[in-house]
């Protein structure tokens, strides 16, 4: 019974150029997701500028998520493994702590956005629920954009 799917294969895809263009495609996808997230929140803020329907404090997870994006992507995988030519300004341990803080902020912002949507807009049955959905979508998109940008690129192409 175990292993009965072992011989199933995806259909063959002859995209020979995918290796060279991998970083390019990943950067484009990540950029689209990141900025689409921000434009969702800009839309919600333009529709509901008052603070009763879209509390201005709900912008915070988006900002923290953006800071986390830049923290996660400012250290290369080579720095973490200790393979880079220089040790950077904080060394390998400092780079690991920086990355850890970046992930911490990213997860925290995603949890905060989920809390805003479910704890405030869903449970309270608030009528224009688009602000809550927009905040959640923004943070989810920025979170996944950070992960795609970090782990989707390969440093072998950097030469």
């Amino acid at each position: 019974m175990s292993g009965f799917l072992d011989n199933c294969r995806w259909p063959r895809c002859e995209c020979a150029d995918f290796g060279e263009k991998r970083n390019f495609i990943v950067s484009v996808i990540s950029g689209v997701m990141f900025f689409t997230g921000w434009w969702f929140v800009i839309d919600a803020a333009a529709l509901y500028p008052d603070t009763e329907r879209f509390n201005h404090a709900f912008q915070t997870p988006g900002v923290i998520s953006t800071v986390a994006f830049f923290m996660i992507n400012s250290v290369s995988n080579g720095q973490i493994r200790g393979e880079a030519y220089t040790t950077g300004c904080m060394g390998q341990t400092g780079a690991r702590i920086w990355l850890f803080l970046g992930f911490l902020l990213a997860f925290g912002a995603l949890i905060a956005a989920s809390w805003i949507l479910f704890g405030f807009y869903v449970v309270g049955n608030v009528d224009p629920d688009w602000p809550g959905i927009a905040v959640f979508l923004q943070n989810a998109l920025i979170f996944f954009s950070a992960f795609v940008f970090k782990f989707g690129r390969t440093e072998d192409l950097w030469g």
Binding site: S27, G31, W158
Partner: protein
């Protein structure tokens, strides 16, 4: 008969070219010149779409002109990245990927702005559609410019 084209060496060669009109005498400089004219025409067409979205009597609203800000901003990351990567012959680098990310973001923003404006009912959806068509034309033009003129082996002395 002395006329102005005698003074301008380029115009003199062009008048000689038009007098002996044969396609076999086209050289690289003429191809670049024709492509430059084509790119200028495409850019004018795109901006025409944008102006139509503002100036048609049923729309009569000049908010979409703010998209021009994104048009101007979009080639900047690529120019900066190309200038900074002189001397690296790897196929990609962190700087180039950041530049692709930012350029994608600018393109997404130039699509997001008319959509948000139409959603908030500042402009009509028809104007939004015209602006997005103009965006497509202008960004294809900018891409075409980098494809035609981006290579470093163009000899500028031939102008």
């Amino acid at each position: 008969m002395a006329h102005a084209s005698q003074k301008c060496g380029w115009c003199y060669s062009q008048t000689n070219y038009f007098s002996s009109y044969s396609f076999s005498s086209l050289n690289d400089r003429d191809y670049l010149f024709h492509r430059l004219i084509g790119l200028a025409f495409a850019c004018a067409l795109g901006v025409t779409f944008l102006v139509l979205a503002c100036a048609l009597p049923e729309y009569n609203n000049w908010w979409p002109m703010f998209v021009l800000f994104f048009y101007v901003l979009s080639p900047l990351p690529t120019i900066v990245a190309r200038r900074l990567s002189n001397g690296y012959d790897s196929s990609s680098s962190a700087c180039i990927e950041l530049c692709i990310f930012l350029t994608t973001g600018i393109v997404v923003s130039s699509i997001g702005l008319p959509i948000v404006l139409a959603h908030v009912a500042v402009i009509k959806w028809g104007a939004c559609a015209l602006v997005i068509s103009g965006n497509v034309v202008v960004f294809l033009t900018i891409l075409g410019y980098f494809k035609v003129f981006g290579n470093d082996d163009i000899d500028y002395s031939m102008w």
